[in-house]
């Protein structure tokens, strides 16, 4: 279940739950004049907390490392395609609003939005 490096520009190491050493894929693009931070779950290559469980703590660490303002970014979690036979490992992108309640925090992006966001 290796994640293709096409999903990220760099591996970002972060402190997960209880400071567990954790890793995710990271891409930062500009979208509509705003920095768009795309974090990708690395599954077997992430020794610690998942990007979704780490949530805002991960976003804060990325912002601190990259000099970004959490309130001024578009934050997206990517569930990468791992070419698994299981549908649970298909590609999905979710925009995250950390200020929303749990039922409204995640919005799945459609194909057009993903293409626009990830276009180099």
């Amino acid at each position: 279940m290796k994640v293709s490096p096409d999903y990220y520009d760099e591996i970002f190491d972060f402190k997960g739950e209880w400071d567990m050493p954790s890793s995710c894929g990271l891409k930062i693009r500009s979208l509509d004049g705003k920095p768009c931070v795309i974090v990708t779950e690395l599954y077997q290559d992430n020794p610690g907390t998942s990007v979704t469980y780490a949530g805002k703590k991960l976003a804060e660490q990325i912002c601190e490392a990259k000099g970004l303002n959490l309130n001024e970014i578009i934050y997206v979690e990517c569930n990468p395609n791992t070419n698994s036979k299981l549908s649970f490992y298909d590609e999905e992108f979710f925009q995250v609003d950390f200020n929303a309640d749990i039922q409204h925090r995640y919005r799945q992006l459609d194909r057009t939005e993903v293409m626009k966001m990830t276009a180099d």
Binding site: W18, D19, P21, Y43, Q44, N46, S50, N79, F88, Y106
Partner: protein, 431 residues
């Protein structure tokens, strides 16, 4: 160092309705107890088989919890001890999964594996300096440091059903290199398979006063060479054992059978010929199969689930265990369902894998619950779970008789089941 009297408790949980309850001696508490220094005098209570004596004299209390359905009871127990002025620490799998909440209910939370670490916690406790968190997550001790469990703490007569001793739980490895959708083991024990040294496994296993074991490792099928070495080494012990999946390889299966494989838990996730043949191959080597069937995954429609239940009748399973998809924290299942806003119940008492706590993709939660109930009833319609268990028990007893290791059941406990009297009265049935 003066003796510190530690009350170690394994909280009870609500068993699934309609299923035969077998209380096995829990592994976590005695694995933890084995890591404690000699000056800690441990008194162990498994609340599933005996009540807690809250007034038993002790210097401190430790909760060992494995299941999500234990954590709220653990918090109640902590409250009781707080009323008595006692400090309470918590550890174990579900403490790690629910740590963020656990810190609000107990005085100290121990995260990670305890070998080589618990002594410092106890020294702090004695010195009145117990820390709120002992965090060893992701920092595994050397696997060689894992020693034999403190099985002397068990009250053996409480893990006995009508004179038959329950299996002892045993672990030959930790960690898991797989990242399965509903499982948190890779988060808890690391994504690296960590086998124990074979000589330690043999020594530990040989010392257990029980001929029947459950090797609780997540999956033995993680390193074929180690697996072969393990089975070869334990064969002379003539133990009989249950385990999770074994490598699908004729040589490994043959060695497993010779090493005493009694029956295995095998996931049945579709109706393919592969599954049918996989079950048959186990049987060809005299190894029984308990199918584990997870219902409510996103790729299952109602028809798929019904087909899967019908399929079980065709593959000659010895036992079947049905569960509904449950989004335990720190699993991919949790992340996915959380993102999709589909988890509607966060009451951990309901996270027993028999109660639907999320919105399934292809049906209502109520319909999935019905199908789950139907699956149990359907599979055990012609022969009850206890009867099927008895059949497996007879298989192993015969093998033990052939090998001269059979121990007759303890007649003194023939009228007891897990410490309680067995009701053998014949009831009138109104026809």
């Amino acid at each position: 160092m003066n003796t510190f009297k530690l009350k170690l408790i394994y909280p009870k949980w609500q068993k699934l309705r309609g299923q035969t309850t077998f209380n096995l001696p829990p592994h976590g508490p005695v694995a933890f107890a084995a890591t404690l220094p000699e000056w800690v005098d441990v008194s162990f209570t498994d609340e599933n088989v005996e009540p807690i004596d809250f007034d038993e004299e002790c210097d401190g209390v430790a909760l060992s919890m494995m299941l999500s359905t234990q954590v709220k009871r653990g918090w109640e127990i902590a409250d009781e001890y707080h009323k008595r002025g006692k400090l309470v620490a918590a550890g174990g799998i579900s403490t790690m999964l629910h740590a963020e909440e656990m810190v609000n209910h107990v005085d100290s939370v121990f995260l990670g594996e305890a070998e080589g670490r618990s002594e410092q916690m106890m020294i702090d406790w004695v010195n009145g300096d117990l820390k709120k968190i002992y965090n060893y997550m992701g920092n595994m001790p050397p696997i060689e440091s894992v020693g034999p469990c403190r099985r002397d703490l068990y009250k053996r007569e409480l893990y006995n059903h009508k004179g038959v001793q329950m299996v002892d739980l045993f672990h030959a490895s930790r960690g898991c290199r797989f990242s399965c959708y509903p499982c948190a083991v890779s988060y808890l024990g690391g994504r690296k398979f960590r086998p124990r040294p074979i000589d330690k496994v043999v020594e530990d296993m040989a010392a257990i006063d029980n001929n029947r074991l459950f090797i609780v490792d997540n999956s033995l099928a993680q390193n074929k060479e180690w697996e072969k070495e393990l089975f070869t080494a334990i064969a002379p012990l003539k133990k009989k054992w249950i385990s999770h999946t074994i490598e699908d390889d004729p040589e490994v299966l043959d060695l497993a059978a010779k090493a005493g494989a009694w029956y295995v838990y095998q996931a049945v996730y579709d109706t393919s010929d592969y599954i049918k043949e996989r079950v048959k191959r186990y049987h060809d080597y005299g190894i029984g199969v308990e199918g584990t069937i997870l219902l409510g995954l996103d790729n299952q429609t109602e028809d798929d689930i019904k087909r899967l239940i019908d399929f079980l009748g065709e593959i000659d399973l010895d036992l079947a265990e049905f569960t509904v998809m449950t989004p335990f924290p720190h699993t991919k299942g949790y992340d996915d369902l959380l993102r999709q806003g589909r988890i509607f119940d966060f009451d951990w008492n309901h996270y027993n894998a028999g109660q639907v706590v999320f919105q399934p993709k292809h049906m209502s939660p109520e319909r999935l619950q019905e199908l789950y109930d139907y699956a149990w009833k359907s599979f055990y319609a012609s022969e009850s779970q206890e009867q099927k268990m008895f059949r497996l028990f007879c298989n192993v007893a015969l093998r033990e008789m052939e090998e001269g290791t059979y121990r007759p059941r303890d007649r003194r406990l023939a009228n007891k089941s897990f410490g309680r009297d067995v009701d053998r009265s014949v009831r009138n049935v109104n026809l």
